[in-house]
Amino acid sequence: MNAAPILVGLLLAQCLLAGALWFLFRRKIGAIALLPVNSPLDRTVFRHFPMVMLGHAVFVALLIIVTFLFLW
């Protein structure tokens, strides 16, 4: 079985899911985004939210690629 189309399909699914979740979040957050965030951890995550979520999506994509390299 050829790995390339399956890998590309899975990475595309990951990109679409991450993008859809981000789009839904931006649509819903509205004015609540202006309210303060209490804990230092939450504050840090929220301040760099686009980068945090992009980092998470890239991390999952890397996990998928490495899994294919090691186990296919």
């Binding site: 079985m1 399956i6 899975l10 699914a13 990951q14 899911l17 991450a18 979740l21 839904l24 979040f25 819903k28 957050i29 509205g30 004015a31 609540i32 985004a33 202006l34 309210l35 303060p36 965030v37 209490n38 804990s39 951890l41 939450d42 995550v45 929220f46 939210f49 979520m53 998470h56 999506a57 999952v60 996990l63 998928i64 490495v66 899994t67 294919f68 090691f70 186990l71 296919w72």
Partner: protein, 190 residues
């Protein structure tokens, strides 16, 4: 020209002043992250499994595909819960307590309770972890319904703030008595 600033959150009345904003304790995310952490650990462990030449390639390919689908699904679930964490807030103002709760797709709730109609506030803190990390649950009771707030950080401070607000906004007994007397007089005259 209208000089009224736009509301900072849904349900805010003109002139209503925000005192405290509370979001859930970060520990609530740990439970949501555990499936994603579990599948990540399983995948990393699978990388180092010794796979001999006798293993059927079709079975191996199927395992890889299933692992990757689970990775995408469970990490997607965690991301949606993380977004949900920031879509939820408890806002204490000078007049009311507002509980805003949204999810990415289906939920868009906003409940407001005026402090004078708040009958009772109960606190629940169970287990040593809740005492150490200073979080717990609050149950707010009104004549019509009750509202349970879980994973409230600094639960003692929040409880004290709500009780102080309730005491501040309690109507003066003399004024209430005067009002009752007026209503009674009007009823007798009628």
């Amino acid at each position: 020209m209208n000089d009224t600033p736009p509301p900072a959150f849904p349900g805010q009345e003109p002139g209503e002043r925000i005192d405290t904003v509370i979001r859930r304790h970060w520990l609530s995310l740990l439970r949501d992250a555990s499936p994603a952490l579990g599948i990540t650990l399983l995948t990393v462990l699978a990388w180092f499994l010794p796979i001999g030449p006798d293993v059927d390639p079709a079975a191996r390919h199927l395992i890889v595909i299933v692992l990757c689908i689970l990775l995408i699904a469970l990490h997607g679930y965690f991301a949606s819960r993380l977004y949900g964490h920031f879509l939820r807030a408890l806002v204490l103002t000078d007049r009311k307590l507002h509980h805003i709760r949204k999810t990415l797709v289906h939920r868009d709730d906003q409940r407001s309770i005026e402090f004078p109609i708040l009958l009772n506030v109960r606190k629940h803190q169970r287990g040593i972890h809740q005492a150490l990390l200073k979080y717990g649950s609050l149950i707010l009771e009104t004549p019509e319904t009750s509202l349970t707030l879980r994973f409230v950080p600094r639960v003692d401070d929040v409880l004290a703030a709500i009780m102080a607000k309730k005491a501040e906004t309690r109507p003066d007994p003399k004024e209430v008595l005067e009002e009752v007397k007026t209503v009674a007089e009007q009823a007798t005259q009628a």
